[in-house]
Every structure is written in C-alpha cells, then in structure tokens.
Amino acid sequence: MRFKDVIYPFTTWKHILNEPRTIKHPEDREGSDRYRGFHTNDIQKCIGCGSCEEICQNEAIDLVEVDGIETTHGDSGLRPKVDYGRCCWCALCVDVCTTNSLGMSNRFRWAVEGENELGEHGSPEDYRFVIGAQNKYWDNVKEGYKKPDSYDLTPSTAVEMDHLSPSERSASFVEMMKGYTRQQAQKEADRCVECGICIATCPAHMGIPAYIKAVREDDLEEGLRVVYDSNPLPEVCGRVCTHKCETVCAIGHKGDPVSIRWLKRYIADHVPAEKYAEILGTKQIEKNGKKVAVIGSGPAGLSAAHFLSTMGYAVTVLEALPNAGGMMRYGIPEYRLPYDALDKDINYIQSLGVEFKTNCRVGTDVTILDLKRDFDAVFAATGLPLGRSTRLENADHKKVFQSIDLLREITLGNEIIVPEKIVVIGGGNVAMDITRSLARMQKQKFGVVNVTATCLEPEGQMPADDEEVIEAREEGAVITPGYGPQSIEIKDADTLLGLRVARCVRIFDEEGRFNPSFNTTDTRYYEADMIVESIGQSSDMSYLKSDLNIAFGPRGQMVMDADGQVNGEPWLFVGGDMVKGPDVITGIATGHFAAMGIDRYLNSDDRD
C-alpha cells in the first residue's frame, strides 16, 4: 500500500466550501424549450382527423365531441382526449399531426388541488381531458416540443404526374396528363393517413381511403370494387373531377393534399375493360322485370342507369345527341378527357344491358307522357344545355358565340372558322376549356395563339381551377381577370371590331346579390374577330313543364325530396346539373341517390 493512497481520499475536504448543487426549489425549474410536457392543441386549427389516435401505441388518445366545435366539411368536430395514465410522452402524435395544431408545452407539473367538478378530491379522471379545451394553465405556453420543420412522418409533397410540356401540347388535342405509373401511384397512395374526412365532402361519398389503400397494396381489383360502389365513371372522374375531396384532405394542411383524383384514374386506367364484369360481379344480373327510362346520358343519367341495372332494372337511356356522354363528351375537350377513356366507362355500363337510344330528344321525338306510360319510373337529368348571354348590345351578332355551342361543334367534328383574334368572356372551367381549345386551333392554323379571356373575378379568385388558368397561360392564352365586359363594338353585321371591358371593383352588392360595379375610368379594349360568351349555362325543362303537375319553387327550381323524387309526380326523379352542382361528381351522386330512390319507390306498398 502506498502512503498516498491513504492521504489522497482526504482531498474530498476541498469541497467543504462549495455551495450545494441540489436545486432548492425544483418546482421553479422550467423544462427546456423542447421539453415534452403536457400537450397543447389549437382546437380551432385541429380538424379531428384522428392521426394522433392512430399512431398512439399506448391507446392514450380518444376522439370525442367538444362543445362549441361543429362538424363541418373538412372538420370532423372531434378533438383528441388524452389519458395521462397511459401517455408516455413520446410526441409521435405531435409529429404526425396533420395540421400542426398539436404540440407539447414544457410544463410537466400539475396536480388537482381541492375538489374537482365532481366534488371529489382528485380522481384518475382528472388526468383524462380534451387537450386545449379545458383551460389548463399550459394551454398557451409557447415553449415545449413542436414538430421541427423539414421533418415529417408522412411525406408532404405530392408525386408529380408526367405531362406534356406546353410546347408539346399547345397545338394538339392529345391528352395532356399522362397518368401515374404503378410506382408513382403507390408512392402517392402511401401519403394517405386514412382519416376519412374527405368522404363527407365528396358529393358521392366515395370510399376514398379504402381505394387508396387498395392502390397502396396493389390490389386494383378491390380498388375498382370500392370505386364502383359509388361511382361508375372512374375514368371520367379520375381526370376531370372537381376533386373537392382534395380541398379538405387532412395532410393538405401541412403540404400537398393526396392526389385522390389521379389515384382513382390510376385504378380505372390499369384494370382492363374486359375484366370489369368479373371483378365487379356483374356477369349475371338477375332481372326484376321492371323498366326505367333515363333522359339524358350525362354523368347523372349514366350513374342512375348503372346502379339501376345492377339492381336488376331494364334501363333505357334517351339521348338527343348522336353519342352518349352529355357534357363529358360534348363539353369537356379531348385533351382533358379523351373519348376512349369516356367510352371505357360508358361501354361497361352498356354491357350491363342498358339500352341507349341516341338522336332521340324527349319533347320532340318522344314525350314525357309516353315515357310515363311505357316505363315504371323515369329519371330525368338533362343538365344545362343552354348558354347564358351577357345581354350586351350586339351580343346577338353572328360572330358572338356561346362556348357551350362551340365545344359541342368541336366534338361533333363540324368545322369552326377560327379567326386570328378571339376574346372569351368568362373565368370558369368552361371558359378555360373553350379558350384552350381555340388556342390549340389557332396554333394549328396560324402557328400563333391570340386569344384573350377576361372575367369579373380578380386574379386568384377565378372560378376555374388554378391549374386550368396556369396551363392556359402556358399554352399562350392571355387571361386578364378583374374586368367586366362593357360593350361589343361591331363594324357591320358580318364583322366584329372588339370588346371593351372595365375594371370590376365589386361583383356582389351588400345584400349578396350579383350586381357588379365597374370603375369606368380603367378600361381596356380588345380587338376581336370572334367573341365567345362563357358566363354560365341554364337548363331546358320545357319537356317537363307542359304536361305534368310539377310544383316549382320561387326561383323556378323543382320541388323534390333528397333522392330527387319530384313532388306531385312520384314516378319522376330528377338529378344532375339541372338540379344540383354543376359538376360531374355531383351528377353521379344524384344519379346514384335517384337510383336508390327509384328502387325504394318501386318496391314500396303505397305506390299507386
């Protein structure tokens, strides 16, 4: 043993003058800025998607209703309630939160003092509460764990779809978006958190998370079955749907929403048509002997025809134009919805035994009373076939056209004399359709595009989808939002001079009525050889009005129930753009509901 081994331990004494290092009042010590303490939740920002509940491995989170939070589109109205007897403070719920509303404070001490609201001296229930809604002292604490930027448990950027470049597409009607490959689709489907918030917002209430799951798991047959449960036009909707679902998509709050529409298209594109009947179990449909007539072969009519025939009804579809499809064929341009895609959907519906009578206009070729006599029920969905006019002076000039008429002529293959200078009035999707169609035709004919679209709504508030506007501009069209038409200048009965527009300062008046006012000092003048009006469409219900006992409301709308069954004429159901919408998916939904309504009506006892 060394002497120093006895002496050295005494060096301990040097600490005798040191201050104690123990924290005297640990209750005053704050957690660090990233401390994972009690949760905070901005319940106004939270949408109740339930991802936190889903990822919690301790099952500590329940979704419950909360006073003052309504269930609306994009918000389930539910909020997370945490059981602190189970929480392990891992903060995965914070990381997965789709709205970034969840966080954690750096406060970790809390005990119930005195009696709680139940009159008990603290019970385990006190440690189970809806975070952010029960006035805890840490609710507004800024410090504490928050999800770091640039780190996500769910990928926040959407998979881009391959598409034709502006130069490739500007003179061509070839479909612009190329569709997802399998790898792209699975990657995109992987982003879904399966909350199901989109389902309420989809007018047809499609099983969106279920078919996205099928894409993810590469089970397209199951995906097709889920899609056809509520939507018999997936090729169409997969391309041109207004995709309201994507506007409420939970993960859209902190990144791109899931490209739900493209995934639906992927399913429809990748299941061969000849396998449909086998997959969907429609090879043999038992007929029930009843007959239903469908007027109009647009989305609503086709949807009703599909669901009715799967129920066993013999369905006859009457279509005034030479081909089935309605606006999907005669309105939407080919570069957005190619005819073979549309035909794939329609051919399958036809294969169910649906009879199509084309070139047959109800009201001229056959009357509604004939149909009432020959069929057990009738579903009318004739859409909005008439263009609305600006009613400006000279709006009836022969070089002033309706967009809807031009689009129909293009599909029919009739020649349109495309001039060098065109002005389109309107800022909706139809206006963009005709703008881009005419731009393509100008490019083909002259090699240059000279088409201008103008609308009342300012930049960013145009009714058209953003990508439509962006793509139209890429293709050379000039879009000048925020101006309203003032006068159409003409040279003579055959020749136009142009359109004068003025800056629109207000579209709706104080009472919310459409009543635009203009700043007439800020005007523009566009030279034009052709003006196209595209400011809206209206229905043509003359074939119904004359012979039937239908009640119409104050604004000319038909009185009917939620399934479209018309008051006074119970055998008649209506749907589609003429009653609701206008868009494809709403039409499909109304057709579906009407089909179920017809089925119920024809099977009910009180039917006369």
Partner: protein, 181 residues
Amino acid sequence: METVLKNVRDRYNVLHETHTHGVFITVSPNDVIGLLAYLKNVEGFTHLVLLTAVDWIEENQFQLTWLVNNPVLKQEMGIRAFIERSVWPEESVMDSAHHLWPAAKTYQRELHEMFGIDFPDSPEVNEPLILEYWDQLPPYRRDFDTKKYSEETYFPREGRYTRDPKTHMEAKLYAREGKKQ
C-alpha cells in the same frame, strides 16, 4: 468470408444463403452443432453473439438462428435451421450447444420457456428464467395473443369511448343522403 463459406459448403450441405444484410446460411438441424463446432474451432468464430428463434407459424416451423462472430477477422455469420413447430404442450427439440459455449445454456433456457423448444442435456433448461408458474402456451409463440391475455387478466378503464371521424361525419352531415330508410 468467401473462403469460410467455401469451406463450409465443402463440408456441410448448405440449403440456403443470403448475403444482402449480413451473411446468413441455412443448414439442416442435424448439421448445426457440428457446423458451429467447426466454425468455432477451425474458422475462428469463437464468439456466440446470440441464439434465438423465429416462429413461422404459417409454415409450421421454428427458425433457430445462431449468430457467431470471428473477433479476429471481425466477421459475423448467422446460422439458421428450421425445425418442426410442435403443437403445445408437445415441445420442439433441438440439440444443445452449451458444450461449445457455456453461455448458450441461458439462451436455451429462455427458448425453452418462451417458445417451448427443448434442448435436452442443456443444464437447467427446465428452470424458468423469466416467468413464474407459467403453465400456458409459451408466450413468444405467434399464436399467443398478448392483447387478449391482457384483456383477460386486467380490466379496461371505465368511461372511455372514441369516435371514428368517418362515421361521425356521416351521422352529422349526410346521414339522410341516399340512405335506404
């Protein structure tokens, strides 16, 4: 590593090999102990890293994995053998490696307890290692359901309920639409 593998292939019937995430070779259960002894004594794989089992209930097999390490060459090799998965209370049987590594007996005791795989001759193999008075299905077998066990053994907290956003929104927003009465 290639030399070792070649030597092993020369001497033993190697049924399967994977090299993607480390070297793993499959041999017949009868060859395992001999192979382990060869690897330990001749090829320098003197360190038994672990011994464990994987329950492939679908194929009615237990996979046993011995992981051995050569501390000089810093190489690692997994030896796999598939044995028949017995129906409890019958036990599957495998040869013991405790004579090569005394440490193996603990692994074997655990496998016996947790998977119901017996290693005859292994010291104290019948002694429970972790569990006390356990007479049910060995718990690490796939068909032992932990959730069910805990639900039967413990009780849930009262008053808890949760709502599914999807069905809740349906009830609140569109219960009437297209619904058959």
